[in-house]
Symmetry: C2
Subunit: 387 residues, 2 copies
Amino acid sequence: MQHLKKHFLLRDDITFLNFGSFGACVKPVFERYQKYQLELEREPVQFITVNGLTYLDKSRAALGKYLNCHKDDLVYVTNPSYAVNAIAKSFNLQPGDEILSTNLEYGACDKTWEYYCQKAGARFVRQPISLPIQSKEEFIIEFFKGLTSRTKMIFISYITSSTGLRLPVEEICVIAKEKGLITFVDGAHAPAQVPIDLDNSSFDMFTGACHKWMMTPKGSSFLYVKKELQPLVDPLIVSWGYKSMSPSDSTFLDYHQTNGTRDFSAFLTIPDAIQFMEENDWTSVSRQCRELVIHNAPTLCKILGAAPLAPLNDMFIRQLFSSSIKTSEPEKLQRYLFESYHVQVPVMRHGDKTYLRYSINAFNDQHDLDRLFDAIGDIKKKTGLVE
Amino acid sequence: MQHLKKHFLLRDDITFLNFGSFGACVKPVFERYQKYQLELEREPVQFITVNGLTYLDKSRAALGKYLNCHKDDLVYVTNPSYAVNAIAKSFNLQPGDEILSTNLEYGACDKTWEYYCQKAGARFVRQPISLPIQSKEEFIIEFFKGLTSRTKMIFISYITSSTGLRLPVEEICVIAKEKGLITFVDGAHAPAQVPIDLDNSSFDMFTGACHKWMMTPKGSSFLYVKKELQPLVDPLIVSWGYKSMSPSDSTFLDYHQTNGTRDFSAFLTIPDAIQFMEENDWTSVSRQCRELVIHNAPTLCKILGAAPLAPLNDMFIRQLFSSSIKTSEPEKLQRYLFESYHVQVPVMRHGDKTYLRYSINAFNDQHDLDRLFDAIGDIKKKTGLVE
């Protein structure tokens, strides 16, 4: 894959193993981004109120095709946190209601649900998941142990953040729909790591980041809501589109697309990113990345004296791999890896555990992981930062 | 001022008389913007979690100096709509409470307050203001006719949008504070049109756009809240900064600065915009613009057969001037002016009236206004678009 390295803007002197946090934009997409910004500044009124809206529409059409859904069932949002806030704020939670989730979710989403559940006297149920996960079937059984007669919605990550695990959300949501629950999938890490087919899924609501694995500029994400549930979702930012004087065909779009003056160029680059992936056979790139991820997983686990968090296969492992790590100072360890070894890799607390997670994308190779392993070995020898 | 025209990116073929809607960025600020974006993409993790935070802090320090307030009493927001939503959502409205405002406010803010007031059983009071305004004193008397024992907050524009009028908000807020009310000023159009001194004001809360008259890229605005009232304001987007595991010295900052992955480069250019204005003696530029605005106001009124909306002086008129216009198709008229005459000027409905508003900044001159006047004269002759 090394011929693809030239497309990235990333610094040469850093071993970049943290694609998962914020992605990294490829050159043709970044150049398109800045060209849109220049076009905006050359005639701001024409761009923001006329031409830019046409580009936005075309962009949603391209993303809708990529995700298999109607473009008007998608709205662009800054990031998945925005989408989760929009849903949590709007969802008509009653005292005693429960949102069933796992104890593996992204911390900012936990905070959001806890905030809105507390206001309503509802409960955010973080069903404990036993690690390592043994199988899809056992995961599903364990997850639904958290179900009660008060459960109204399922909220679950497609691919978890600190533990880097793909969860069987398709199956979970099929079962949840049979039980009459609303399903909301946090797919922050999903687009371009897993194929997504929204219209043929049991996902009622889905948010994904384009600025991670789809490689668009930061601040470009989407919220999908099935047509019949769209009336449930109020705008997070009330603006001209709310009770619009010149409504479009989609109230969903009016509510969520218009939210004050901003530079929405990042949204417009999504078709360019999709085209870049197609032209460079990203399905094959992603598969090669997964092979590298899985090939190196046992080594990381061995160095850290840990067991893998799930079976080492495509079902659970995509382009991220996390291992638990014994360190009392995760933030210091992460900084030390960056400053002393020029290795950018996250070391994250989650509950009472800490995880080190590597990400692999087209520009990475075996040498990058070897540098990580060598650095950890060296740190173990020289410091007390890793036990 | 024509030597300043070269600093703008605006198209040469357009007579740009709508600076008010979205501003326009100057070249050195725009270049800095895109450089920050490149720095971000060269090492996203280091930028978003380390270097960028230092730049943000420096930026708020510069803006705090410019507005005379402590940097930690300011948070950056995308736009004033975001700020108004954050306050309206957080403000603990009780049934029967009233927010006193005017009938001249920005439509998106009306919608926001009406949305949250309706939820709480509270009232958003749009006190009718007689136009033309006769004097500061009469405005103040008329405004406070809307006051009742249930009024909890004053919400008022520093400079109105469709009518383009500077209102006596300093005096209004002094009186409101004496009456024990909370004061919230929508200063979307204020920074760089009027001098602002937050710490010596009676403004409890203030939002301003930097992407309008301060000429930064789109999506850069701020919310100021006096220290003692900051605990009232919950995050509009709940994220890591809410009940933070690693809190900073300012909960206000933690709550509002962290809200998911985004490109915050626009915020970072604010010191560059301030420097640009200083280096180019923007106080004098702004004064010259106001002179041009006021000099031409009687002509526009005459052409449109309307009376000025306020006395033609610095107190009420800054770099915007609106006149009511008789047209049954404002959107079509605006489009026609742009497409047939290459004049970009807004024609806006407000209540049962319609206004045409011109803005003047450094790149404008008398010829621009002459082109507008000629175009309107021509349209009156040739079409029925203007009565």
